[in-house]
Amino acid sequence: MSDETEHSPWLLQAKPTADRWRVELDKIVEGSREADLQQFGSPAAYVRSLIFNSCDDSVARALFERTLDRLVASWHPLDWPGFESDPRNLRILQLLAAYTPAGGMAKTLKLLRPLNTYEPRSDELMVPRMKSLALQVMERYFPAEQDPAGAFAEYVEQLELNLANPTYALYAASRLRELRRLRVVSEVRKVAECDLTVLSQLVPVFLSGLAPAEGVRVFSQLRIQFQGAPPAVLAALKEVALSHGLHLDDSPAAPTTQILGTAVTRVSEQYRPAEDNGLRLAKTLFKDTSQRAATETTRVRKDAHSEFPPPVPLKRREGMATQFTATSSGI
């Protein structure tokens, strides 16, 4: 093997070339760097270390990014049999999430579509992992609404589909809220009827950061959506309303409000907007001293539990590796 084609991570770092990067990326994707990925925690962290320790990290980064572009250009995520659990797709997604090469957006959307409708068996642990990863990759591509418009619209559509899925509803709602695309749609009722705990977590997402009048309006829309829902669902809605200071009076004599041409029970009184708490943890973790941090965290947790229902683990769907929850936009 000549020096030019000989390959090792050390050679890649000492004398980086596009070919060497291509070989290394192939090895990462194909699974020949598994011990390193375990040690670093992810393919992208491993790549970061390769770049960080290169003789010239700017050159290394430029070569890596160019090679990743080429890799993504030749990547067809649905072509591999069993693509929904193929670890190669997972590793590429992990790289896309960290480096967001332009070509990765459309390919990820392509992969996300079938994943959104796929019902994994209980032993298919990789599938939910792949889907959550694909969702997060899209989150990286669309931190806010931006071009291309078609891809953004498609992304929003895929998120809305997930509002009907108890496992992903909170995440999807949080993301839609963040993108200012969260609408009260029928999927919300569907998911609440599947799993009541989702309802108590979902409503705060709808109300997060809203001024009182807007909060009441949105809650009223939710109320309309739940008309005729089973009593247990309505009771849960009432409870979550109370936690926000909204008294939902269902008695026949209760005053009503016209919302969207429909008379609904008035929901007003002392509305407390849901805290936009995506960064609450970060804000409370680090104070001037560890002691203060601990005290503050305890206080915030108490507050959180008194204001909102404590985060209850979602009912695990068969086949899910773990629950997938969000508390609000911002994460």
């Binding site: 090792s8 991570p9 050390w10 050679l11 770092q13 000492a14 090895k27 699974g31 760097r33 598994e34 011990a35 390193d36 990925l37 375990q38 040690q39 670093f40 925690g41 992810s42 393919p43 992208a44 962290a45 790549v47 970061r48 270390s49 960080f52 320790n53 992990q94 999430a97 960290a98 642990l125 990789m126 992992r129 959550s132 990863l133 969702l135 997060q136 990759v137 995440y171 708490n277 995506g278 960064l279 609450r280 943890l281 970060a282 973790l285 680090f286 001037d288 001293t289 560890s290 941090a293 601990a294 965290t297 985060p311 590796a321 773990t322 997938f324 929850t325 969000a326 508390t327 994460i331």
Partner: protein
């Protein structure tokens, strides 16, 4: 001398110092292709195969250690750290995807915006009530639940030097990390083990201790000087309850990381390692 030959020196050393593991060691060796021996980026090809072997990375094969310190320290990449904690809902989205984006995001969320993290130890229990360790319920392999701790304190000042004293080569590090410290209670002391050759099988740089001498700790190889020598004490622990652990973020520049250059794949370094192993035979 190639890496295979260096590894064979290490095997020779291991046979002399830990003969009780010789058979298991030989079995594991048989699974590794000749051109796939350690030093950064190798061995990975057969790693999944190794994980299936009961002898490899088994959490309860070592001898009991006797750490004499108030704390043990562990250093982890941010992504690795995220994989090991059972994060609360606020962080579950970050953890769940198991991606570097999560590491980046976590870093930004907690470290950059959290600001004062560098100077402070933060109780791990503020972000997880569980353990620092893999969650088999999330599809993680429970066999990978051994963690390498050291009694050498890790602080921002001299971080790179102290990492080398723990036998961590330059290429092990990507510039930022989470350092954990665990207060040693009687229970934890009882759980610590001296790393065996089987624990260190996949490690780039590893020094087998001599079983006959019943050493109280494992011993890293100090990479700071041209002549390698004995480094910090090291221990194996399984998952540890978050309530025992504090963590903080540390970061070094590329220039700092280059200060005690020891790249595990560099021929010059491998010569140093070869010389060291030979001196012990």
């Amino acid at each position: 001398m190639g890496k295979l030959e260096i590894y064979q020196l290490r095997i020779e050393l291991a046979k002399r110092r830990q003969p009780e593991h010789a058979d298991a060691h030989t079995k594991l060796m048989g699974l590794v292709p000749v051109d796939d021996f350690p030093y950064r980026g190798s061995l990975s090809g057969c790693y999944p195969k190794l994980l299936k072997q009961p002898e490899f990375c088994h959490p309860s094969r070592g001898r009991r250690a006797q750490p004499d310190a108030e704390f043990l320290y562990l250093i982890a990449e941010v992504d690795k750290f995220l994989r090991e904690i059972n994060a609360p809902p606020e962080l579950q989205l970050l953890k769940y995807g198991d991606i570097t984006a999560t590491g980046d995001k976590f870093w930004e969320l907690v470290h950059v915006r959290g600001l004062k993290a560098k100077e402070e130890w933060v109780p791990l229990s503020t972000i997880t009530q569980g353990v620092y360790g893999r969650d088999p319920a999330a599809g993680e392999d429970p066999k990978q639940q051994i963690y390498w701790w050291s009694d050498l304190p890790l602080a921002q000042e001299n971080l790179v030097r102290d990492m080398r004293r723990r036998g961590l080569a330059k290429d092990w590090f990507s510039g930022r990390c989470v350092v954990l410290r665990c207060r040693l209670t009687a229970d934890l002391v009882a759980a610590t083990q001296v790393p065996s050759v089987l624990d260190g099988f996949a490690s780039d740089i590893f020094l087998p201790t001599d079983s006959e001498l019943t050493p109280p700790t494992g011993q890293a190889i100090d990479l700071t000087a041209d002549s390698l020598k004995l480094g910090a004490g090291e221990f194996i622990l399984g998952p540890v309850a978050a309530s025992h652990i504090e963590f903080r973020f540390l970061e070094v520049t590329k220039a700092e990381n280059d200060a005690f250059a020891a790249h595990s794949g560099e021929p010059a370094f491998q010569e140093r390692l070869e010389k060291y192993y030979r001196s012990l035979l």
